[in-house]
């Protein structure tokens, strides 16, 4: 690890100011960033911890029924506090990593990082959530831009994520055997005006919607509705753990299971 300066502001404004300096970087739970620093793969001059910012922490239900989660809220908190309002989201959070990871890692960090195998991005995209930063509100459909790439600008902080709560939803995760990240994860969310399906883990493009399945499920919300669909292996991740064809197959299996579990 290289030397860096460490600050832990208590307001978003102070964090934004601290991040304005050259080579400064936000630090959430550190579950991704700290290992990267340890391997000397990044060398920020300053780390700006976000977990001391009270306004960025916690889970709350809004008047319109949506659920807001502060960007610095850890997975364990989401697992317990979102359970009543948005059980599928809480269940997703409860199955990320291990207890240590869940008690450190944050939703803001996960969504900012946009690891192609991360769980949260699928929930954000399938829910049609809004990513709220210190500057603006970004619709999920505009936010995710390919693996490890997002609409965030330099120094921009995710202060919260606002989730519309679907009528029914479910997340099915097929774990990569070593990392236990998603080898394929599918989040299905059924709203009054239609169904959204987001797939993580599978594609070289990162998290994405499966629009054919959405159309089929919006017409007929049952696992059989997607029997006739097939997922192309083109552009699917092909690695030690599985071929693109296998991942394409799993997308369909996990989608059917998610629908069945809704």
């Amino acid at each position: 690890m290289y030397d860096f300066e460490f600050v832990k502001p208590s307001t978003v404004a102070d964090a934004v100011a601290a991040l304005a300096s050259d080579e400064a970087q936000a630090l959430g739970g550190g579950q991704t960033l700290i290992p990267t620093l340890k391997q000397r793969l990044a060398s920020p001059s300053k780390l700006v911890s976000l977990i001391g910012i009270a306004e960025m922490k916690g889970v709350c239900k809004n008047d319109d029924g949506s659920l807001s989660i502060g960007g610095a809220t850890n997975h364990a908190t989401v697992a317990s506090e979102a359970a009543a309002t948005y059980p599928a989201l809480a269940a997703l959070a409860a199955n990320i990593g291990d207890p240590a990871v869940r008690n450190r890692g944050t939703i803001g960090g996960s969504v900012a990082n946009n690891d192609p195998a991360a769980c949260y991005p699928s929930a954000v995209l399938a829910s049609g959530a809004t990513v709220i930063t210190n500057k603006r509100e970004i619709a999920a459909d505009d936010y995710f831009q390919g693996m490890f790439t997002t609409a965030l600008e330099e120094g921009e902080i995710i202060t919260s994520v606002r989730f519309p709560v679907p009528q029914a939803a479910n997340y099915q995760k097929f774990e990569q055997p070593a990392s236990r990240f998603a080898m394929v994860g599918v989040f299905v969310a059924k709203f009054a005006d239609g169904v959204r399906v987001a797939v993580t883990g599978a594609s070289e493009e990162g998290v994405h919607r499966w629009t054919e399945a959405e159309a089929a499920l919006s017409a007929n919300f049952s696992p059989d509705a997607i029997d006739g669909l097939s997922v192309s292996a083109d552009g699917m991740i092909n690695d030690l753990h599985g071929t693109g064809a296998y991942r394409a197959h799993l997308v369909k299996v996990m989608t059917k299971r998610a629908v069945a579990a809704c």
């Binding site: 391997q39 097929f174 070593a178 990392s179 030690l240 296998y246 299996v253």
Partner: protein, 788 residues
Amino acid sequence: MPKDSGIGASSKRREDIRFLTGTGQYSDDINIHGQAHVYFLRSDVAHGRINKIDTAAASAMPGVVRIFTGADFEGIGGLPCGWQVTDRFGAVMKEPAHPVLAQGKVRHVGDPICAIVADTLEQAKDAAEAIELDIAELPAVVNMKDALKPTSAKVHDDLSDNLCYDWGFVEDNRDAVDQAIKNAAHVTTLELVNNRLVANPMEPRVAVGDYNRANDESTLYTTSQNPHVIRLLMGAFVLGIPEHKLRVVAPDVGGGFGTKIFHYAEEAFCTFAARQLNRAVKWTSSRSEAFMSDAHGRDHVTKIELALDADNNFTAVRTETYANMGAYLSTFAPSVPTWLHGTLMAGTYKTPLIYVNVKAVFTNTVPVDAYRGAGRPEATYQLERVIDKAARELGVDPIALRRQNFITQFPYATPVAVEYDTGDYEATMAKLEEIADLSGFEARRKASEAKGKLRGLGVNCYIEACGIAPSNLVGQLGARAGLYDAATVRVNATGSISVMVGAHSHGQGHETAFPQVVAEMLGIDENMIDIVHGDSSKIPFGMGTYGSRSIAVCGSAMVRATEKIINKAKKIASHLLEASEADIELKGGHFSVKGTDKSCAWGDVTLAAYVPHNYPLEDIEPGLEETAFYDPSNFTYPSGAYACEVEIDPDTGKVTVERFSAADDFGNVINPMIVTGQVHGGIGQGIGQALLENCAYDENGQLLSASYMDYAMPRASDVPFYTVDHSCQTPCTHNPLGVKGCGEAGAIGSPPAVVNAVVDALQSGGFKHVTHIDMPVSPSRVWAAMNG
């Protein structure tokens, strides 16, 4: 009634108190005043020519003490290989130089190039980034069969090719085996891969070198399974330090699994640098370094043929194996695919003719050496898989086919040069059928089917050879060391006892089990006895712990030394009790005179030995301390039968192990609880190999599974509750305890059980074309096989 102390008691593991309360003393806990830290700059290419190493700028960086390169080791010995194999044609194996730091070329990702010694580790890492390396990348040799093509690049320029040896065993049987296969009523052929593994002990390797200029003495603290072996190899062959000036200490060691047997470059470096710098030098491996510098395990590619006559009797076995040595010969690497593998190819069966061919190959990968089981898992896996396949081809019950071919008469001389002293394979199979409830399997299969799952049953046997010996035989086979062990029993004045043992405990529970033996022999409380191990300055000598040898070999030495103690103590007692020595009995910690009520306590005798006021000084020396060396006359042969039941999710190909049962014959058992634990751990590792673990390289020799993100270790949730039994006991006939060893059995016996079960599940689920899937049987491989 189970015993509550002595042999056969499940005494609680006394060492666990310190392990579980954080009071263990591991090598990394050792910090020597003024120590410097070393960081190894390692190759990031698999194969390359070192054109230039410029350390000038780096040497001037803050805190840097000195930067060493291969040039600093010119004229100093390379890392020695401890076993020389002779090939089919009578020629000795090729034995390339293995420099401490790379000289001329780098040969695998992780090969150390520079050692940067600095005041702090961070300073050493900073300096490493300032070193200018000019390395011309060369084509990497990765695939073993490609490596043997004449057009292949050569890992070692001074060798004629990448073939280390071409070994045939038993070479004289070759034609007879070929003939038997030609004439067989049925031949089953199976090609398989025994996957490369990374041992991943919980504690990574550590080396701390220290030097005392006052007496010219070097000390190495290291994570070793065998400190005396390191002292011998490093002192005599690498650094030229005589034994009396070199102390090697292996304190608490957090798991070895074989990979901490070997003498590594980092140990030699830290010892060497401490002398050069007159300052202690410490290295602690990171997990990432461990993946590319700890010796790997397995990595065999095998074709096996099993010939049967018209009555389904096995008539011959022929195998051809390519065994990966990696870039250099690790300490015992050549012995693993040969003498630890070929000699086990009879299994538990009376196959009259066997021929084993092994081609050991150099590649641009991390060296491969012994890993829990070492050669025996590879033998067991191929044999038990091919028998299962044969049963399926012949339409016979796989258990019946095994039973029909069991060896039933003992001692039994196999056609692969070993003699099994005892065993009862029918007994362990019958025990397995009972504990695994095999008769209930069909009902369980139906229940799985009702849930939409495929269920399979895999059963197999295994034979293991522990405590490899005797030394004169292994010498003929190419070992450059003896394979005896030693123990000193030091009885103190008040009767407490320290036993200095050559075996090293790094998870095996010796500190509990060894005292149980001495306590039993003397009839005293086992808590009066401690063992001392892991320090060459405290123990007489020892070959260490591997190959499930500790209780069979070192335990026997301890018994012999304790017998000497008893003999002398009886002499002292006869003097104190004024009786003839022949009439003295030792029982329950008391010496008594036969047929009288005269007696004295253990403590009376031990005190007399050290305060010899009333003592036969003219006949015997004061003191009560005895040493014995024990060289076994044969291996021991534990055996057993294992059963695994899996479920497969046909939609995803994911395999889950639902039940696992093991019936082992370890001969006599000292501590049943510890033995059960050893079997549990071994099965866990076997399931890891069968379902999860895969050390993979790409075609450029880059390690794909270089961290836990991609190398799948088994977790608690990947294994079921095991049913294990070791009540079938045919005691070893040639060691005083009648023990056989239990450390590796689980890892040897379990992989074929898992894969047999997977194939059974797929076959019974209608996937008749699937006759084999290579390990690890990952979901994607199962799915591909189902859809293949």
